[in-house]
Amino acid sequence: MCAMRPEPVHEPGPGGPGDPGNLAGQSRPRPDGQGGAVPAGPGPQGWKAVLTPEEIRRALTRIAHEILERTHGGDQVVLLGIPTRGVFLARRLAARIGEFEGSPAPVGSLDVTLHRDDLRLRPARALQRTEVPTDGIDGKTVVLVDDVLFSGRTIRAALDALNDLGRPRAVQLAVLVDRGHRELPIRADYVGKNLPTAHREKVRVQLAEFDGADSVLLGEVDR
């Protein structure tokens, strides 16, 4: 095990523009191939922006409305973001719900590392935060929030992690991007954008809170 930090914080400026190898090297891609980060900025070479900041904002606004609709006004809803970027998305959704309904939804984070099915494939990784709102999740409608839905393995781990925390009345899933290629029978209840991708392609979600600017990028990375 080497000394590792939960997530490297990337400089806002492009580190090596147009060098996908460099990008892949400095980001810490999630085991399922999604996530990670590239230096912020409008679409580095080899990466195509598929969602603009405006579109991300609108997608989140729509999801917030859909959550309120599906849960009859958002009563008893708890938003749990999956680190790293899911947490920021969950906070944004909670704030939107607050704007629409007057009181923001309780929001927290759920680290799924200890429940992953691929732990033995890589060195032990640093844990990220799990924070459950004070009222807990028993009897609540938990909406899991993540940036990219890909194989579905992260969500499976999240369902197991939830099991240890309590017994929600229902669990739903909200993602900013659904890129397909599911390996488990899991689907999202709220989707910002359905993005057809090839398996070898990479999807990067960047958020202002963490990466300096909002964008969703699609690229082909040859290692």
Partner: protein, 336 residues
Amino acid sequence: MKRHLISAGDLSRDDAVLILDTAQELESVGGRAIRKLPTLRGRTVVNLFYEDSTRTRTSFEAAAKRLSADVINFSAKGSSVAKGESLKDTALTLEAMGADAVVIRHPASGAPHRLTNWVSGRVVNAGDGTHEHPTQALLDAFTIRQRLGGAAHMGTVPVGAGGGGGGGAGGADRRGQGLDGLRVTIVGDVLHSRVARSNVLLLSTLGAHVTLVAPPTLMPHAVEAWPCRSGYDLDTELRKSDVVMMLRVQQERMNAAFFPTIREYRRRYGLDAGRMALLPEHAIVMHPGPMNRGVEIAAEVADSARSTIVQQVANGVTVRMAVLYLMLGGATEETA
């Protein structure tokens, strides 16, 4: 981090902070209805104890079980060791049983190091002779960080409350922090203390200023080479300490006349209520246990609000979970 945990000196600052941060995350597990994680399912941890110990062995056992590892307890008493089996042969037996990690306590300094040559699993030193006890130092560092860490530079308050309640530390985020600038005084039988040695190495790595106070007969010979100061006058040091750590007078290792009487030791190096009053207001009192009440620490001090002794035991499980997770949780084959 190295493959085995033999000495607190093997840990870089980043390694140590990673262990403390992992422990901080795992702490909430102790406060949940279901105190179990599936992470080490199918891994086997052997507790190999050649010396009597209740808290360390049960602490490691609880830690391994909370991570769903299988635990085999192997104590020297009533085993093949009592029939004369050597450490090497015992190690080969464990190896044949497929131990992923061996937690060893041994009266001989260096035994865990020898063991690393004979087993393919990870080795965790749970105390060897008068050498080291690294997980004790880690839990002490964790307790200090929880109670005092970064009081001056407290981080952002997290959203919502902590996960499910564990943690006696007001919810301040101390992730990533060391113990920079804190003054820690370790008092007593430093000569025989593996706890003192490990703590000096780890706490100084984390940025604390450590001072050893002991009777001249119980101060190690080459203490000048250690990354700490040393002195003989307890009262002076107490006035400028954030943490005072009392060591047990190890009567079982006192095979010579190190001090005239218990009474004299207590008068010069024991911590009673009068001495505790010399400490700054925020200072805490630690003891690795088991205590000799009335010798190195007075009962009223041990039971005071400044005492972290019970908290240290609870943190022991958490920190050992972090160590086991980081050693066994990932791929077995990796570059160290």
